[in-house]
Symmetry: C2
Subunit: 115 residues, 2 copies
């Protein structure tokens, strides 16, 4: 059996609160990572003036959480990629509680070295 | 039909060159993004002293490219997530040319707002 190196949750929200709020998104990246048991190395976020969309990444000792919002589509895309004992499902649960999406879907991808 | 907001390539390399070379990885994030027609806002990369693994992200106007290497597993995980006219397949092609993996696998995920 190949070794699973990382657990990668692809999560998509629509109808979420705070999707254009830069400070909330920076806070959420850090808090969700810590709730999952991960160690935050850096948080970088950027606000697009033309459409109020936000893009951001928490660089983790255990990989990353990224967020990209498209308010014109009422859509936020998250990636929660963690190795080791950190649990990406705990981060997703935290993000759902904070952003309160009307709809949320996700899929788990087990990241493995190609054999 | 739901609108595809972003094209997200999940790519896994094993047996690659340069997987512990921080400067090469920073260069590659930027060059692959530009080759794909994307605009780089920030590149952040971090080297782990305990195992020589590297984690890095290029934050793009069109979303992001992330890289995480586990030299102890001879494995590099890339995510190439782009919206608009930028083409993640061009970035992947550039990364394969540069890192020369013995094996490379990928899957494309079309990111859409949940209906």
């Amino acid at each position: 059996m190949p070794t699973v190196i990382g657990k990668h949750l692809i999560a998509d929200f629509c109808g979420a609160a705070r999707q254009t709020d830069l400070k909330s998104i920076e806070f959420a990246l850090r808090a969700a990572a810590e709730h999952a048991g991960a160690t935050v190395l850096r948080v970088v976020a950027h606000e697009f003036s033309e459409n109020n969309g936000i893009t951001g990444v928490a660089v983790l000792a255990e990989s990353h959480i990224s967020v990209h919002s498209w308010p014109e589509h009422d859509y936020i895309a998250f990636d929660i990629f963690m190795c080791g004992k950190a649990d990406p499902h705990l981060a997703l649960q935290w993000l759902e509680d904070f952003f309160k999406p009307a709809k949320s879907t996700n899929q788990l991808i087990e990241r493995i070295a190609p054999a």
